[in-house]
């Protein structure tokens, strides 16, 4: 049964990959471009009535997002990420973009005192968070966690401008920064192409190039963590910068009545306790917003305090 499920998911992902289509929708004063990438619905809105411009913008951005997905997705066996993860202790050549991303991950590791660690992806082998409430079966034992933790540790990763070497058994996962990075890259492309206001939204992580015409803000709805529709979404007016949401809205485990989010503490191997259900952060760039939201969640109970001390604009839901 489980095997069948796994096959279905694999097939689905492949299908999604083949489903690389960019769709164009015309609205009153803008064009909406939609496509699928990184297992999320993606959209680009450009406040312009120029169809040719909107088409070019949509294609350029979609291509870039798919390029990043192909390069850094853990699920794509041809990606640079997979090549690194399957290297079995040998060094792998990397290019400048990968080097810069690894450096950024390094900065985040240091800033979070080791809590944020892109080598912590292997923990998913003992933790599986799914869309539905799980039962005790999927809750790992302390021994299991300790065992898989030996393959976690950014300090064991060695890299320079040209190559990276992982200890055998280790894996790196760009999932924590990939989508936000793609948003920022898309914004750079949009700014180069046009002066018209553009909004890029990749599955809830979004950014804008500038405010809408006449200095009007963009209206963004932030989903409430609970799936039931009794709670209303929150509307944020965004004039410039980016917005990223981190949270356990969809992925969590309930064990013994306690809710465990999917953000894992890379040092202990266990989920962060008492973390807010969702945190939305505003920052000049999407990757910054994303990291700050994740860093905040890693603080657990102190998430809000952490963000307030840094004087960052945010919304948290518990």
């Amino acid at each position: 049964m489980l095997l069948l499920l796994k096959l279905l998911i694999l097939f689905n992902e492949n299908y999604l990959n083949k489903n690389r289509v960019v769709q164009l929708v015309k609205n009153k004063d803008s064009y909406g471009i939609t496509f699928n990438a990184m297992a999320s619905p993606c959209e680009v809105i450009i406040q312009s009535t120029d169809k040719q411009l909107a088409t070019k913008l949509g294609n350029d951005i979609a291509s870039e997002v798919w390029r990043i997905e192909d390069k850094y997705s853990r699920y794509n066996h041809r990606s640079v990420c997979s090549a690194i993860n399957n290297s079995a202790g040998h060094c792998v050549a990397i290019d400048e973009e990968t080097y810069l991303l690894l450096n950024f991950a390094e900065q985040c590791y240091q800033l979070s005192d080791g809590l944020f660690d892109i080598s912590s992806g292997v923990l998913r082998k003992v933790w599986s968070f799914q869309n539905i409430q799980s039962n005790n079966d999927n809750f790992p034992t302390a021994v299991q966690v300790k065992q898989v933790l030996t393959n976690v540790g950014w300090r064991k990763v060695h890299f320079n401008q040209n190559k990276i070497t992982l200890v055998k058994g280790m894996e790196i996962d760009f999932g924590g920064i990939g989508k936000e990075y793609a948003v920022d890259r898309a914004i750079i492309i949009a700014k180069k192409l046009t002066n018209n206001p553009v909004l890029v939204n990749l599955g809830g992580d979004l950014a804008v190039t500038c405010s809408r015409i006449n200095n009007e803000p963009w209206q963004v709805a932030i989903e409430h963590p609970d799936i039931d529709n009794n709670h209303t979404d929150m509307i944020v007016s965004l004039k410039s910068g980016a917005l990223a949401t981190s949270g356990d809205a969809r992925r969590f485990i309930i064990n013994d009545g306690k809710r465990y989010g999917h953000i894992l503490n890379a040092k202990t191997g266990w989920p962060v306790e008492e973390a807010p259900r969702s945190i939305t952060v505003v920052a000049p760039q999407c990757i910054q917003a994303g990291i700050l939201a994740t860093l905040a969640l890693l603080q657990g109970t102190h998430a809000e305090q952490f963000l307030m001390e840094q004087e960052i604009k945010f919304w948290a839901r518990r």
């Binding site: 800033l111 803000p217 410039s240 505003v282 920052a283 004087e311 604009k313």
Partner: protein, 461 residues
């Protein structure tokens, strides 16, 4: 963030953080890390709801007042008001207003004598007497000067920054107009910068009493007599004169490592026009074998060449230790008046944390300067000897050593505004460049030391 100096650093200023117990500025560190990743240098600000981020496009102001005072001589007060505005695309506008006032007495170039001396004021109306043994000082110098500067800096292409500015300075008897331009080129991840700049000044001098005839005798007597004005006019050749100054500066800046940056400059300067000081005279004294050896027989107005070419090389290093910063520089200057000079300037900034005021620091300062005399520098002339082509007894182009020691203390007040105080001691020691002193001159101080105090308050907001 303001683009300072010639090299533009495209990151935001942060406080360093490493200790978990200190309040870490994660936001700023992430901003730098993000910039490195995305390769962007233009930061947009995140603006939500109705909260406007007013940090960009804001004006930054500096105001300062300086007091300079030499013991028994000149005192000056100078106030500066500087306004800088940085625009979104790294364009910077800088406006500066300077006002200074001078009062007190300056050496007129004559030598001290064992008897009382009388001199005529530069304007020609009135005399002043100097006590026996005293260095002659003319106290008619009080003037107020106003200066305006405007400078515009902007990137003109990736890694190219251009800057241009104007200058106007006016005092009662002096007008100076100038322009400057500069181009800087950054390369190797902005670790190296080449720059080339020029400046051009046109000055007009309308001294009180007019321009004196070179080497003419100073008229001493009673300025209320009827024929005084005619006689005085005979010693004058005009009411005003001009000079132009052209400077070229070539610079190279290099980041050595995370803690150190260096700069190297070469400059070439040409001054043409009236370079003589119309208020200065030279004492003509009796020769070694005369009865009046060393006694002043006449005072004649000095005369300097009408051009001067100066060159200098300058090297500066800044080194950031754990917390303190050392700034040290050396300049060597040489010109066609045969003056050479060495200047060593050093500052050491020591942060004091929050113990003596928010983010306070002290900065000791030491400067050493040494110059050789101009080839036409003559502390006095011998009566009867042939006059040289040019001569001046101005100690400021004679052989001299100076040093400055000082201390600056600064802290943050109000909403993070800088307030600082600076107190320095400046000592100028003219020395004998090898002139034998005839007769009575052996008994007087030909090279008096001048002590001065410098005090400054600065407030930036």
């Amino acid at each position: 963030m303001v683009a300072r100096g010639l090299a533009v650093v495209d990151v935001v200023v942060i406080n360093t953080m490493k200790n978990k117990t200190e309040k870490t500025n994660i936001k700023a560190a992430l901003t730098i890390a993000t910039a490195a990743l995305l390769g962007t240098s233009n930061f947009t600000k995140a603006e939500t709801t109705s909260i406007a981020n007013v940090e960009e496009n804001a004006w930054e102001f500096d105001s300062a007042f300086l007091f300079y005072s030499e013991a028994d001589r000149v005192s000056a007060g100078e106030a500066i008001f500087n306004a800088t505005k940085t625009f979104t695309d790294e364009e910077v506008l800088n406006l500066k207003l300077t006002v200074d006032a001078l009062t007190g007495a300056s050496a007129n170039g004559g030598v001290a004598q064992p008897n009382v001396q009388t001199f005529t004021r530069p304007s020609g109306s009135g005399q002043y007497t100097i006590a026996a043994g005293d260095t002659p000082l003319d106290d008619t110098f009080h003037d107020t000067r106003v200066q305006l500067n405007g400078q515009w800096t902007q990137p003109i292409a990736p890694n190219y920054t251009a800057s241009g500015g104007v200058h106007i300075s006016k005092e009662y008897d002096y007008l100076s107009l100038g322009v400057n331009g500069n181009l800087a080129f950054d390369f190797d991840r902005k670790n190296s910068t080449f720059s080339a700049g020029f400046s051009y000044f046109q000055d007009k001098f309308t001294p009180e009493g007019g321009i004196p005839k070179a080497f003419s005798s100073m008229l001493i007597g009673d300025s209320s007599l009827p024929n005084w004005d005619d006689e005085f006019a005979k010693t004058r050749i005009g009411s005003e004169d001009t000079k132009t100054t052209t400077d070229i500066l070539l610079g190279f800046t290099q980041v050595i490592n995370r803690r150190m940056i260096t700069q190297f400059n070469y400059s070439y300067s040409m001054v043409d026009g009236y370079l003589t000081d119309p208020f200065k005279i030279i004492s003509v004294v009796g020769g070694f074998n005369s009865i009046d050896a060393g006694v002043a027989q006449d005072y004649i107005y000095e005369s300097r060449p009408d051009s001067r070419i100066k060159q200098s090389i300058y090297a500066q290093s800044l080194y950031h230790f754990d917390k303190s910063v050392l700034d040290i520089s050396y300049r060597y200057m040489w010109d066609d008046w045969q003056i050479t000079s060495h200047t060593i300037d050093s500052r050491f900034r020591i942060p004091l944390g929050d113990a003596f005021g928010r983010e306070s620091y002290i900065q000791p300062h030491f400067r050493f300067y040494q110059q050789s005399a101009a080839e036409f520098y003559k502390p006095f002339l011998i009566d009867g000897a042939a006059l040289p082509t040019y001569a001046s007894a101005d100690y400021r182009i004679g052989e001299m050593t100076t040093f400055t020691v000082g201390l600056k203390y600064g802290l943050l007040v109000n909403n993070g505004h800088d307030l600082s105080f600076r107190l320095e001691y400046y000592r100028q020691t003219p020395t004998d460049a090898g002139f034998d002193e005839p007769g009575v001159l052996k008994g007087v101080d030909l090279y008096p030391t001048i002590d001065a105090i410098i005090a400054q308050v600065t407030y930036s907001f």
